[in-house]
Structures are given as C-alpha cells and as structure tokens.
C-alpha cells in the first residue's frame, strides 16, 4: 500500500517537474524571442499557470485526501471561492513580505507581484489542493511532526524547498557581475523554481528512505 502510494507520489511530482521544464522550452518554439531571461514576466505567467493547472488536475485525479462525505454543490462552490480568496491573499502577503525584504515599493510592481504569484503557486496552491481552506489543518501540517500522510510530508518538503530556494536566490543580487539573471526578480524566481523542483524530487526519495521511521498516525 505504502510503496504504491510513494510511487504515485513520485509520478505526480515528476510530472510537475516536467511541466516546469516544458514551460521554459515549449513557448520558444511558437513565440520568437521567448527566453526565460528576456521575457521573464511572460515565463512567470506561463509557469504559474502550468503548475497550477497541473496541480489541480492531479488533485482531481489522485484525490490524496479522501473526503469522507459527498458534499453539496453549493458547498463545493463556496469552498472553491474560499480557495480563490485564500490564494489571492497569499499573493498579497508574499508581495508584502518581498517588499519588506527590500524590493522597490513603487517601481517594478508587476515583477514583484508576479514573483509573489509564482511563490504562491508553488506553496499556497498546493496546500489549498491538499488541505482545503482550513487554517487549522495548515497549522497542524506545518508544525513539527504534524504530517499525517506521505502527501502531507511531500507538501512540507516542497513548500520549504521553494521558499528556501527563493531565499537563496536573493544572494547573487548584490554581486557586481552585471549578468542578465541578476536583474530583479529573475534570480529569486529561478531560485524558487529550482527549489521547488528539488523539493519535488527530494520528497519521494526522502519518504522512501525514511519509510521505517515515518509512522503516520490516523487522525
């Protein structure tokens, strides 16, 4: 049971990684002049949209959290709306944090906001898919030893890795190398992306490695 689930997780995660790589490669074939550095904003949009659609589809197909009861249509709609609001709020929150970290307040608002959207896609959207708009569950998962399934462990790892990636991505900005990828927010968004991809790959491996120690208690 567990082995099979880990394999499913690995497949899903590899699909996500693949979609990110495709989002960087495919648009160049039908859009002249598309590069990740040159048209960074476009890439940010494409990558966010790709990852989010894939996540939602995967969520619908795999259904990692087995919802116990069939809920009404209106309930589903309200849930969906709530999710949208949460997502938007998380974008705003990330934007605020980035500005607090020193991003310019007025200039390059679009860049900062799209970076915030990307970060939200990598972190919040996954949480929303997995846990729903349920703050208590979020706090549970992100406190120590709070995960109750391998999906939640994977969620922890990928979220941490994306945020750490973005954090490390800010390091090269002060260097005076004058490279194209040092322009705000390219290094950070690339850092976040690489962190996310690393997290996606690490998570199943880590779970596989530590499957003896990981004993998930049922809720």
């Amino acid at each position: 049971m567990k082995e099979a689930e880990v394999r499913r997780l690995l497949a899903a995660n590899l699909l996500c990684v693949f979609s990110i790589i495709l989002s960087a490669v495919v648009p160049a074939s039908f859009w002249d002049g598309f590069t990740v550095f040159g048209t960074h904003l476009a890439w940010l949009c494409i990558c966010s949209v790709c990852v989010s659609t894939l996540n939602i589809i995967l969520h619908l197909v795999l259904k990692p959290n087995l919802s116990p009861k069939r809920s009404s249509f209106a309930h589903k709609i309200s849930r969906f709306l709530k999710c949208c609001i949460y997502f938007f709020m998380s974008c705003i929150l990330f934007h605020a944090i980035i500005v607090l970290y020193g991003a310019p307040l007025i200039e390059s608002v679009t860049e900062t906001f799209l970076f915030a959207v990307l970060l939200s896609t990598f972190t919040t959207l996954q949480c929303l898919c997995m846990l729903g708009p349920n703050i208590q569950a979020w706090i549970r998962v992100f406190s120590k030893n709070g995960a109750t399934s391998i999906w939640e462990s994977s969620l922890q790892i990928t979220t941490m890795c994306s945020i750490l990636g973005a954090w490390f991505g800010a390091f090269p900005i002060p260097l005076d190398w004058d490279r194209p990828w040092q322009v705000w927010p390219i290094s950070c968004s690339l850092g976040a992306t690489f962190g996310y991809m690393a997290g996606l790959i690490i998570a199943p491996l880590w779970i596989h490695w530590n499957r003896k120690q990981l004993t998930y208690k049922s809720r």
Binding site: L100, I139, S143, A170, L175, D176
Partner: protein
C-alpha cells in the same frame, strides 16, 4: 564660473581631468600632488593629525632652489611642510560647519600679496566648497554662490598676474582640486565623482588655441613632475607621475625631448631601486630604446640637419618616450604596494589562536556556571612550550637577518619580539591542552549527541547559518560594498522566524489533539509563564479577584496576544522604512532616499517637524524606567538638542520664519553635554551604590537604564536631524522585542545576544554608514567644540558612527541584567557570545585580506572595511569590559 569658463574656452590655458587614487582624503592627496607618489592607506588615519612630510617633494626642492613660497589655506600644508614657507597662515579644516570664515581667512591676504614682488610661489588652499559638500551635499543652494566667489578670486589673481607679467617671465596659474565629491557630498571613496578632479593650467606662455572639446585624463601624480619640470627643479625622487606634455608644447623639440628624458630617467631610477628584475620590465626596455633613438636624434641635430625629417624623427622619439613613461609609471604604481608579510603572518597567527581558544572554550563558557578560564600554568611549564619558543625565535632571527626590505616586526626591540614569541607558543600550548581536555571529556558521554542535535530550533539554525554566511560573504568585494544588504536580509529573516515561533506558541495552544499533547503541553507551560510575566505587576489583584477579573484579564491576554503576533510585522515595517531612509553601499547609493529629500533646503519645515516628533518619541520611549531627576534632565537635554540644531540652521522653530544668522551652536551643545554627563553620572552612582551597599537589583537596573538613556541623549545630539528616526525606531524595536518576543518566548542568553548583535549591525547601516570611508560623518566630532581638539573629536566621531551597535549592546546588558533572576549566568553568557560574534568575522576577515592582498580592490574596498572592523573591535572590547564589570558586581553580591 563665468570667468574661468571663458579662460578655458578662449584663453591661453590647458585643462585636464586629474584622476586621484583612493583614499580621496585631503592629506594623502596633497602628498600625491606634491611628491608625485601614491600614499598608502594608513594615511587616512593620520589624516586628522599629519606629521611633517619627510619624503622628497616639490616644496622642498623649490625651497632649496631658493624660491620663496607663500602659503594660505588648509593648515594640513603647514603641518606637512613646516618651515618651508616664508609666510603662511593656516586655517584649521576641521570646522566643517563653517563655510565663509575659512575662505575669508585666505582671501584677506590676497590683495596685499599680489601687490608685492617678493615671492616666487603662492599656494592657496580654499576649504569652503569641501565644507559645504560635507554639511549640505553637492546639490545645496550654497554651492552656486561659493563657486561664484571662487571665480572672482581667480579673476583677481589672473588679472594681477597678467599686469605684472610685462616686465618679467610669464607666470603660471594652476587650478586644481585635491579630491572630488561623492553624490552625498562626502569624499574618501573611489566613486567617479570623488576621483575626478579638475586640473587647469593658465599662462600667457601657452599658445592660443581653439577650444578643446573634451579635456584629457591625466593622473593626479603627474602634476608634481610637470611643475618640477616647469620650474626647472629636479623631479622628486618617489614620483611616479609623468610629464603632461601639452603644457611644455610651446618649447622646441630639443627641450621637450630633454624634459621627457629627465622624467624617464627619474622613473627608471625609481624602478631600479624598487625591483631587482628591473631590466626585464617592458617600461625600462622601452625607455632604453627611446634613449638610444634620442641619442641619434641629437647627433643629427648637432650636425645642423634642420629639416622636416628631423622634426618627424623627433616626434617619433617623443612618442617612444611617452610610451615608455606610461608603462614605467603604471608598473611602478602597481608594485609600490609592498607588504610586510612576516609581521602580517605573526599578527594573523596570534588572532587565529585567540579565536580558536574562544571557540574551544565555547561549551564550558555557555554552561550554567559561565566559567571561562584558560589554564596557563600547566602549558607554561611543559616542554612543548619551550621548544616552540626556541623554534620561533630561531625563525625570527633567520627571517630578520635575511629579509632585505624593512620589516616592522624585526625593527621592534628584542624583548618585545621574544615576548610575542612566548605569547604565541603559550596560546598554542593552551589550545592543545584544551583540545586534549575535550577529547578526554567526550569519551564517556557519547550517547547524547543525537539528542542535542535534534533539539535545534529554527532560530538556532538561522543564527548559525547567518553567522557562517556573513563570514563567507566577506570574501567577495561586492558583498563587502553591500554588506548592509546582508544584514537587512538576515534581520528580516530573523523577524519572520520569530513570527513563526510566535504563531506556533499562540495557535497550537488552542489545539488539543492528543497526538500533540507533548508539544502543546510545553507551549501551554510557556504561555502560562509568559502571561504570568506580563501580569507580574498585578499578581495580587489577579489572585484575589480572580473570578471577577477573569474576563478582563482574558481580554488583556487576548489583545496582548494579537499585539505580540503583530510585533514582528511592525518591526519589519520599521526596518523597511529605515532602509529607505538612507541608501548606502555602492551600487544603489545613487537612488533617491528620504534622507536626501529631507536634507534638501526646501524641506526644512518637514525636517523640523520630523525632528521634533522624533525627539518627543525618544523621550516617551526612554522615560518609563528612569528616575524623576533623569526624566527632567532628559526633557531639558532633548530641548537642548533641538535648539542646537536650530542654532546651526538645520531645523527651524515654528515661530521663526526669517532665516537668522547661523552660529556654531556651541552654547546649546554644551548645555546638552551637561545633561548627558549628569544622567550618566546618576546612573553610575546607582550602579556603584548597588555594588557597595548591595541594594536590590532594581537599583542596578535603573542605573544601567540611566546610563543607556544618557547615551541615547548623546546620540540624539550627534545624529543629523534626518537620522533621528533611526534612534526612535531603535528604541521602539527594542521595547517591542523585549515586551512581546524575548520575554514570552524565553530565549536563552546566547540567542538574545546574537539577535542584539545582528540588529546592532543592521542599525550601523541604517544610520547611513557603509564600508567606505566617505560615509563617516566627521561633523559629529565638532559638536560643541570651539576648535579642533583631538581626543574629544575622535571620541565623538567614533560614538556617532558606531551608535547603533553600541546602543544595542548596552540595551543587551540592561535586558540580561534584568533577566538575572531567571538565569544567574546570563550576563556572562552574553558577554562571551558578544565577544565571540565580533571576533569570528574579524579573525576570518584578517585571514581573507591577507590572502587577497593583491586583489584589484584591496585599497578601495577591503582596506576601509578592515579599518571599520578594527575600530569596531576596540569598541567591542570596551563594551565587554563594561559587561564584565557588571557581572563582577553581580558575583560579588551573591
């Protein structure tokens, strides 16, 4: 400057842009102009106190040639060249706040001197523009009138020289600047604005020519050689400059060739003295070739061959010479930097040994006893110690007898050298014994390292990673230039991690899942204790009227909880505001910031309002733990600060609309000093009382707080008005951190110390400091002083520069000594951690700089940083002494 522009465009003049080498500070620049050599970086420190110049220089050469020299202006010249001038009047350059008097002092002699005939050289050094730049920046409204004044003076001199000229030889008027001005109006660094200075030669001897489009680039050191050649003097020995050829362009080809030959000969001699393998130097080879063709040319010339060919050949020889000169001087300026590697190694070894010793004693010093002892006696008697001593002495003798260049360490007396050797070997032995001890101890309890490593919280990880990351970042020049970014980044992350910690603390309480019982229980305990801490003022009321007051305390708890949750965000917003107050560093220093906006002359009323509000806030934040007397003193002192700023014209009183005359504000500043001393004295008295009579600890903490508030008042006086919000936010963040984060979350002393250290570093940069010399605010050293007095000026400047780290360190002491009830060794732990936090980066940085000494940016980036680090270490040592004294008090008492 209409007249000068006219002269440059139409008249008989040559204009250049002279490039100055950093450090762009007055004294090294004067040295460069007069000797043609490149002064070392140490001259920045002695900039304030310049000894006489002993090297061969232009002034000395002129004097020995019997020229009579008159000097008026900056008294650095008088100190550099004592007894060289037949007549002089020095003006002290340290009154940065004075714009007119310094220049009037020079100009008042001018009319008289220009009428006389008894001088050959007149040197005038005007200071006003530099002072305006220091005080108000390059965009100030004062710059225009000052330049017009300078233009008029130039016109006066030029016209009188022209009128004199009819009888005698033509005169030369040289206009140059010792250094430029950065975007902020300061200087010392290596930005374009600071390095590029004008150089203008005006003389009727020059041919009239069509206006040049773009002035050419020359080196500042070239002036010395050019003037020496022009005056017919020998070029000074250490000059690396080359002749600016257009200036002697009016001479015949033969003379021109002779001049460049002289210059080349001097440079090649200098090269011979400095490098053993000078014959292989390309510049030297070029020079030899040029010399040979020069000889051929002379032969042709003497044969009377006076045709076009001769001229062309001459031009070719000239070009060869110029190429040779250029290569010679560039290879000379490259290798002028000589390093005394042996002394550097000795210093580095001592520092690394001390650091290792500190690190090795880390587990012991942070134990509950907080003992830090280095057992010196057993290693002193070991065989190893004597062996090492002998070996090091032998090495010393070998190195010192074989070294051909001068070495500082070798020139010390033998006793000192042996002492240093003994110190090194004693440290080495104690390190070895400490390592041995650790191994002995670590054998038996090998079971618990897993437990200790798993109990690391996010804060610990961040602190460790941040420290290591910061130390590693010191190896890159851009990270040193932008070090403020590192600190801002780290404290932001720290705030976010604290926020997460608070969330966990507050929210997990609600959840009562059985599976989290352990964590929840822990949190419950801490929350309970925390609320106990908060309500410690009213415990009796709480106990007696528990039933009645429960709802209200619940409400208080609830609001407290939300405030404490919001506090990291408020701190983050404060930091973001401060960050945009002063743009510092190099890459983004030109971006507009609030500081510039506030200091521009149109925003005077806004600045006044801000300063008044800030002073008010400072009072409210500081007063709550002061005694009544010091409260009153604080009010008066802060009023004094405002009136001082009003007196020197930075801010205005609301009722005063006409700009009245600007004074130096000495009375007001001294008025504030009296209160600063008063408050500090009261605090010290309390501290002594708590030590001698062993009163309760509240007296001691009040005393400490009073010392702290005295320092805050001093900082308020010394900070420029637009920087007062830094002080306010500093106090605000400290208050919030103490109340809502540190107390409730119960961090241990080491964590608190490191957080204080990080915030202190960040505030160092929030103040507008950077790792370049240019941002040191020299004007702080002259607050309330009639004339330049060395010791107070240095003390005040150092205090104003390091106010951020210093205030945070003193606050740390206040906080830790108030926590003594919880952890008796808190102050000792804090002191140890603070010393360690300072010594790790310094020690690693010294090693890095030693290994990077041939880096391209060693003088412009790494050396100023080393200077900053050195001064910071001294200040930290003083702080640690204060800490230890306080700790001693405590241990005495108990």
């Amino acid at each position: 400057m209409p007249y000068t522009t006219q002269v440059v465009e139409k008249g008989t003049s040559y204009s250049f842009i002279a490039e100055a080498k950093p450090p762009t500070v007055t004294m090294p620049r004067i040295k460069a102009l007069m000797t043609g050599s490149i002064p070392g970086f140490i001259d920045v420190i002695v900039n304030l106190n310049s000894p006489a110049l002993l090297d061969d220089n232009l002034i000395w050469q002129a004097k020995t040639a019997g020229k009579r020299i008159i000097f008026y202006g900056d008294d650095t010249w008088v100190k550099l060249f004592p007894k060289h001038f037949v007549e002089y009047d020095g003006t002290t350059s340290f009154f940065v706040s004075d714009f007119t008097e310094v220049d009037d002092n020079v100009t008042r002699h001018l009319d008289r001197v220009l009428k006389r005939e008894d001088w050959d050289l007149l040197i005038l050094h005007y200071l006003g523009l530099d002072h305006i730049g220091h005080m108000t920046g390059p965009n100030s409204s004062l710059v225009g009138p000052k330049l017009r004044e300078m233009d008029n003076i130039l016109k006066k001199i030029h016209i009188s020289l022209l009128s004199k000229e009819e009888a005698s030889l033509p005169n030369l008027l040289v206009v140059c600047g010792d250094h430029g001005m950065s975007e902020t109006g300061s200087h010392g660094g290596s930005s374009d604005g600071e390095v590029h200075t004008p150089l203008l030669f005006i003389s009727s001897a020059f041919e009239k020519r069509s206006p040049l489009t773009q002035p050419g680039f020359v080196q500042q050191t070239d002036l010395a050689s050019t003037l020496a050649v022009g005056l017919g003097l020998p070029i000074s020995r250490n000059s690396v400059g080359n002749l600016i050829l257009p200036v002697v362009g009016g001479k015949t080809m033969r003379e021109q060739l002779r001049f460049v030959h002289l210059n080349g000969f001097q440079l090649s001699r200098l090269l011979q003295e400095n490098t053993p393998a000078y014959e292989k130097d390309p510049g030297y080879e070029h020079f030899k070739i040029a010399e040979k063709s020069h000889g051929n040319w002379i032969k042709l010339y003497l044969e009377g061959n006076n045709s076009e060919i001769l001229l062309n050949l001459g031009k070719k020889v000239l070009k060869q010479y110029l190429d040779a000169l250029k290569t010679l001087s560039s290879s000379l300026s490259k290798q002028v930097a000589q390093y005394d590697v042996y002394s550097m190694m000795v210093g580095t070894v001592i520092i690394m040994e001390v650091l290792l010793l500190l690190l090795l004693s880390l587990p012991k010093a942070l134990s509950s006893q907080a003992e830090f002892e280095v057992s010196l006696s057993p290693p002193l008697f070991s065989l190893l110690f004597y062996l090492m001593c002998l070996m090091l002495c032998a090495v010393h003798v070998i190195v010192c007898t074989s070294a051909e260049s001068s070495c500082y360490f070798c020139s010390m007396s033998w006793l000192t050298a042996v002492g240093v050797m003994m110190l090194i070997s004693a440290l080495m032995c104690s390190i070895l014994s400490a390592i041995a001890k650790i191994f002995e101890n670590s054998r038996p309890p090998l079971k618990n390292p897993v437990v200790s490593s798993s109990s690391w919280s996010e804060i610990d990880v961040l602190i460790l990673a941040g420290t290591i990351g910061h130390v590693l970042s010191l190896g890159a020049s851009s990270f040193i230039e932008e070090e403020h970014q590192t600190w801002y980044f780290l404290i932001n992350t720290l705030c976010l991690v604290l926020c997460q910690e608070l969330c966990r603390n507050n929210f997990l309480l609600k959840e009562c899942d059985p599976q989290h019982s352990t964590t929840v229980k822990q949190n419950f305990d801490s929350i309970g204790e925390a609320s106990e801490c908060k309500n410690i003022d009213i415990p009796a009321a709480c106990n007696s009227k528990l039933g009645k007051a429960s709802s209200s305390t619940e409400f208080i708890k609830r609001s407290d909880k939300w405030i404490s949750l919001a506090s990291p965000w408020i701190i983050l917003i404060c930091c973001r505001l401060l960050r945009s107050l002063n743009q510092t560093g190099v890459q983004w220093a030109h971006l507009p910031d609030f500081g510039h906006w506030l200091t521009s002359s149109e925003q005077k009323s806004e600045l006044s309002f801000l300063a008044a509000v800030s002073l008010l806030m400072i009072f409210f934040l500081v007063q709550r733990r002061c005694s009544l007397v010091s409260k009153i003193a604080m009010v008066l002192g802060l009023l004094g600060v405002y009136s001082y700023r009003a007196a020197i014209g930075n801010v205005i009183f609301p009722w005063q609309h006409d700009s009245k005359d600007i004074s130096k504000g000495i009375t007001e500043a001294r008025f504030v000093y009296v209160f600063v001393l008063g408050i500090v004295f009261t605090g010290t008295k309390d501290l002594l009382k708590s030590q001698v009579i062993s009163a309760d600890s509240s007296v001691k903490s009040t005393g400490l707080w009073e010392v702290y508030s005295g320092l805050v008042l001093l900082a308020a006086l010394l900070f420029r008005p637009h920087n007062l919000p830094v002080l306010v936010f500093c106090l605000l963040i400290q208050t919030m951190m103490t109340k809502y984060i540190w107390r409730p979350l119960k961090f241990d002393a080491a964590q608190i110390t490191i957080m204080h250290y990080w915030f202190g570093q960040a505030f160092f940069y929030f103040q507008g400091n950077s790792n370049g010399i240019a941002t040191v605010d020299v004007s702080a050293g002259f607050v309330g002083l009639e004339s330049y007095v060395e010791i107070p000026a240095i003390f005040l400047t150092a205090f104003a520069t390091y106010a951020g780290p210093l205030l945070w360190a003193i606050h740390l002491l206040c906080y830790l000594s108030s926590e003594v009830s919880r952890n008796s060794a808190a102050v000792g732990h804090g002191c140890f951690c603070y010393a360690l936090m300072r010594s790790i980066p310094v020690a690693i940085y010294i090693v890095l700089v030693t290994s990077l000494r041939y880096h391209l940016f060693i003088w412009s980036v790494f050396s100023p940083k080393l200077l900053y680090e050195g001064v910071h270490v001294f200040i930290t040592a003083a702080i640690c002494l204060f800490f230890t004294a306080m700790d001693q008090n405590h241990s005495h008492k108990s």
